[in-house]
């Protein structure tokens, strides 16, 4: 290992850069007008060097972590060096110019030091509304990106510090929640202003040469750490495949992601060449989103302590043919790419990784399967938009740990808060009837998948638009189990009318809702990990006493005999031993027969 030239500066400056991205995030959390930033934390803050290398970032939700470099690259391609000035702020959201889906807006500010472009301070965040005809931005019937909302190529919203009235007028005329969007764009811009101020302070303090050398050394050091982590994965060729229930337009075809993962020393390649072609509906993933999901899925298994920057990302290659579902061509619609396609890509990658590093891999998380609703709330006399983030599924288990209950979707990995039940009733025209864990939903395994939840609410007004956005309702798309474990439960989503008639809701479709209707959703549990017969009977007893696994299920899935009432149960040790022995020997026989 060749020592770093100035290791103290490297440590101090790299720490400071990450701290600056956190200060930018603090500004976002404090100044946001919609709860999307302050509660769901759907944004990322980042610093790039003059060459466009990602230097430091803080991703408040994981799915955005790797998307920014592509957006900045598109911005740098659009503008010549001489066209950029101090006080410029560039906006962009076009999926076909480095972004993921239209609601995720990139704001980039070039930072000048001694008249030279030195850094970029960047944020990317989910805006409440960017036009279009869907509910909360989601329109499963859209057949092109133009129907999904307003496309913004890289354009300046400030030039030389001057507010560009024309551009603002153009943007704000095309959105429904003008106040919210105007406020949240300023919130993103304010965060980049803090970034600029702090970066100039850093350069004043340390000097430009020291800072630039330290950053390059830091990226190299990060690359070394990443190389060591990839090296620890056995060389080889692994593959995984996972799908979505439909694309909103072709309701009987399951778009499928196939990944071939090659590990060769410290090189890692995700090859999606065998994936399906792009589809007509909104589940297409632009390349930036696919890349971001690759990074997220990999870091969740091997990189909890590795910084995410150009150094760690440069060792990962991604092959995704243009025109495929993981690298769609314009004008394919893309809104569901971050919520739905993200989960399928993650699942395919984790299945592939489980063949290489089973102990570090994770089972599937309960997929998102819930409505988006909007309308008018007569009680508050105001319009509302609800994304139903409280319909969370369980997380997948991993070796040594049960999954977490009610934590999904995997795109956020537990980073976003569910709406509090009391706030839910105060903000929306709904009465919440039930909101608790759904027993027997977590996939059985030596480590059990996290529980899904049952969520029921009654609609108290006639003016509600509803679109469902989800997957996981099919055998081929549900949260998978690993190493002999069972998958998570199949989710259910239905509406019960006041007269008692029930309707099952298909995913990715518009639905008509009436006053007095009751939604009932049972979200998906996470997949289990490892052989269920190896689960410690004491843990199963605890699950039964807690009422999250039924005694019936304890016997059927785990071969454990539990007797007595739920809160006073005990294990019949003898019956359990003989039942497990019987099943183990039956299994050995099957294996022998197969051989």
């Amino acid at each position: 290992m060749s020592p770093i030239h100035d290791p103290i500066s490297v440590a101090v400056i790299s720490n400071r850069l990450t701290a600056i991205t956190k200060e930018m995030g603090q500004i976002m959390l404090l100044t946001s007008r919609s709860p999307i930033f302050s509660e769901s934390r759907d944004f990322v803050t980042a610093i790039f060097d003059a060459q466009g290398q990602l230097v430091a970032q803080t991703s408040y939700i994981p799915v955005l972590l790797g998307a920014v470099p592509f957006a900045l690259k598109a911005i740098m391609n659009r503008f010549n060096m001489e066209d950029l000035h101090r006080g410029d702020v560039v906006i962009a959201n076009d999926p076909y110019q480095g972004n993921s889906h239209l609601p995720d807006v990139t704001i980039a500010r070039p930072v000048f030091y001694e008249r030279r472009l030195t850094f970029w301070a960047v944020t990317k965040g989910h805006q409440a509304d960017l036009g279009g005809s869907g509910v909360a931005g989601y329109n499963p019937l859209a057949k092109s990106v133009w129907e999904e909302g307003l496309r913004l190529p890289p354009v300046k919203v400030y030039a030389n510090g001057e507010y560009q009235q024309d551009i603002w007028d153009l943007i704000l005329l095309n959105v429904k929640s003008r106040d919210l969007v105007e406020g949240d764009l300023h919130c993103q811009i304010g965060a980049t202003a803090r970034g600029e101020e702090a970066l100039i302070e850093l350069l004043d303090r340390h000097g430009q040469v020291t800072a630039e050398e330290a950053i390059q050394s830091y990226l190299e050091a990060t690359e070394k750490k990443m190389a060591a982590a990839i090296n620890a994965i056995p060389d080889g060729y692994y593959s995984g495949e996972r799908g979505l229930d439909n694309d909103g337009i072709e309701m009987d075809r399951q778009p499928t992601i196939r990944v071939d993962l090659t590990i060769n020393g410290e090189k890692l390649t995700f090859d999606f060449s065998r994936s399906d072609p792009q589809t007509r509906g909104f589940v297409n993933s632009p390349f930036a989103n696919t890349a971001s999901v690759c990074f997220q899925s990999l870091f969740a298994c091997i990189g909890a302590t590795i910084p995410i920057n150009a150094g760690s990302l440069r060792l990962i290659s991604i092959v995704a043919p243009e025109g495929s579902i993981v690298h769609c061509r314009q004008p394919a619609p893309t809104t569901a790419s971050t919520l739905l396609t993200c989960a399928a890509i993650t699942d395919a990658i984790w299945i592939a990784l489980s063949q290489a590093i089973p102990a570090q891999s994770q089972s599937g998380w309960g997929r998102r399967c819930a409505p988006m609703t909007a309308g008018f709330n007569p009680r508050t006399r105001r319009p509302f938009v609800c994304t139903h983030h409280n319909c969370k599924g369980g997380s997948g288990a991993t070796e040594g740990f049960d999954g977490w209950s009610h934590t999904g979707p995997v795109s956020n990995m537990g980073g976003s808060r569910a709406t509090d039940p009391e706030i839910f009733e105060l903000a929306y025209p709904y009465t919440l009837l039930q909101y608790e864990f759904a027993p027997d939903t977590g996939g059985a395994g030596k480590w059990r998948g996290g529980m899904g939840a049952i969520i029921r609410w009654r609609v108290e007004t006639s003016d509600v638009q509803c679109v469902t956005v989800g997957s996981g309702m099919l055998e081929a798309t549900r949260a998978f189990g690993l190493l002999g474990a069972k998958p998570g439960s199949l989710p259910t989503m239905q509406v019960i009318s006041a007269d008692g008639t029930k309707r099952e809701l298909r995913v990715n479709a518009f639905h008509t809702i009436h006053e007095g209707d009751t939604f009932e959703i049972v979200s998906q549990g996470g997949g289990g990990f490892g052989e269920p017969l190896e689960r410690d009977p004491e843990q199963i007893l605890r699950d039964v006493v807690d009422g999250v696994v039924s005694a019936k299920r304890a016997f059927a899935e785990y071969g454990v005999v539990i007797v007595g009432p739920e809160d006073d149960s005990t294990i019949n040790v003898e019956a359990t031993r003989s039942e497990r022995a019987r099943r183990n020997s039956a299994k050995t026989k099957t294996v022998t027969l197969v051989k």
């Binding site: 770093i4 701290a19 404090l30 969370k392 980073g415 105060l426 009422g547």
Partner: protein, 686 residues
Amino acid sequence: MAGSKTGSLIGIDVGGTFTDCVLIDSKGKSIVEKTFTTPEDPSKGVMNGLEKFAANSGLTITDFLSGVVRIVHGTTITTNAVLTARGAKTGFLTTDGFRDVLLMRRGVREEQFNSKYAPPTPLVPRNLTYTVAERVDCEGRQIVPMDSSGALDAIRKLKRRGVESIAVSFLFSFLNPIHEQEMAALLKEEFPEAYVSLSTQVLPQLRAYERHSTTALNAYVSPILARYLDHLTARLQSAGFRGRLLIMQSNGGVMAPEMAARFGCRTLLSGPAGGPVAGIFCGQRASYKDLITMDMGGTSFDVSFIKNGEVSFTTQGSVGGHAMAFPVLDIRTVGAGGGSIAWVDEGGVLHVGPASAGADPGPICYGRGGIEPTVTDADLVLGYLGAEDFLGGKFRLDFEAAQKGIEERIAKPLGIEIARAAEGIGRLVNSTMADAIRLVSIGEGYDPRQCVLVVAGGAGAVHAAAIARELEIRTLLIPREASVFCAAGMLLSDLKHDYVRTLSGELANLSQKMVQDLYLDMEAEALATLSEEGMQAGDVILSYAVDLKYVGQFHEVTIPFASLSENFAELQKSFEAQHKRLYGYNLLGQSIEALHWRLTAIGRTERPSDFGRLPSKSQDKVPRQRSREVIFDGQKVIADVYEGCQLNSRAMVQGPAIVEEPTTTVVVPPQCTLRVNDFGDYELSL
């Protein structure tokens, strides 16, 4: 009312390693003692401290205690009960259909990229959570009456299953407490020996998870605290104490033991709460109003902001991963301290922390088996700490071992000299602490450069000047009692109780009469409590605040107001100004919604006014004790070393210099001036 003119006051802060004791006698003279904390029975450590004081004054413990009028006690017994999952066996009763709101913790997994950890141990396991049919809607209307037979059934089950404590929290009970009251009546009849914690008594405010969690925390820790306080009171009484025992709260105030036993959750974050109180005291007597207090100990670094003599509060506290929404002083903590371990990663990058060597084994230089270099080891190698001077010379530090540890684990892997490595460790930990202060100041909307840095904790004064320099702070204030800052702060704390009621609606449409009725109710409760605690009505100060937000927003801003006759239009103006200051914008004229109406009742305790004042005699020439080699900015310089006890008020010391205090060391970098003010506190100018 207890006061310093009639006897001595004692502050006792039980920490993880040390029990800090401060005594102020009737003349205002202070004495400091540190004893080891006795985790199995913390009252033992408390009594040891008191016995030391008695022995020092040549009295028997009985004679000594008969002259003590007030003991203020800070304890972490409740916090430890939560962190080690050893609270009372607790049951939870809640609304049918909503069994898991407490366990869901709003669906958050704090470390997104780490799949190898479990959620925090529940305060109440699912099997001790029972639901009861009942419902109040979001406007406070009873829509399902409580099912009494179901409630009785649940109570009997909890009784049979041997719980000691029961938390009750129903949906929207803060708008209509009827079902919680009915449940309380049933509990009294069926299970009178159970400790009962009702959400409508603990924290009647919006947000089910936060309210449930605070109520459950209260049920979980109060019986533990009650037992401990009974035990301590008995010990103190049998030793001859006839004064008043008061317990430190997380809001910076104190309360009677009887209140503490009912509302144990109010002590959950009280550990560092004395710090800002002491900071305000020391700052104000030196005429500084805008302060940042920092407390750097062995494992953690606490920061708080004080604007115009007022500390900020937060209702977003958490303990061991469980939400605690009772208002507490907003003290942010990062894992950086003297014990923080320095290490080099596989990419060759230096890190400091977050792991700490703690007190055991501690830094290498303690010679107690520590092998990983820490910040303290670097401080020793750089000459900031003297091997012979630590803790007043009572504890010799091993310089060679520290040097060797830094050489092997840091300098060699990085390919640099030992001194540079040690300096790097210092720079890195200082920048981490400066970042923590910046983040808090951004959250508060203030510029740290306008503030005075008040420095506390054993390691604080070693690092403070460097941190201040990074933040461009010009003035530092280092109280003489810096190392027992929290214990000193406790003696300055008033009796203080926070109340909240919920009345939501657009401000313009709310009935002033209804608001006044809420306050009459809260005031009656406050005055009854304070009078039980020995206060006269004339010594009580009431202050008012309301949580406001724009209609449709999800975050409230707490706006104080002067009196109950305040015009709501004035509230709207204050809200708009505050919103603009905090968030950079406002929406002039848009509708505003009120939510929680808050009352804070303070019962003033008499302060030791002359606390710490030194005889003011001018001192032209300060006796230099000796000197040692110290490294600043890569340069070896010879620094004068002074004994703190030799420096009287108005003494001046020019950097580079070191001042040794019995429990801390003040580092004065070159070009900086240290001055002792009239109260014996150090003021450092950069």
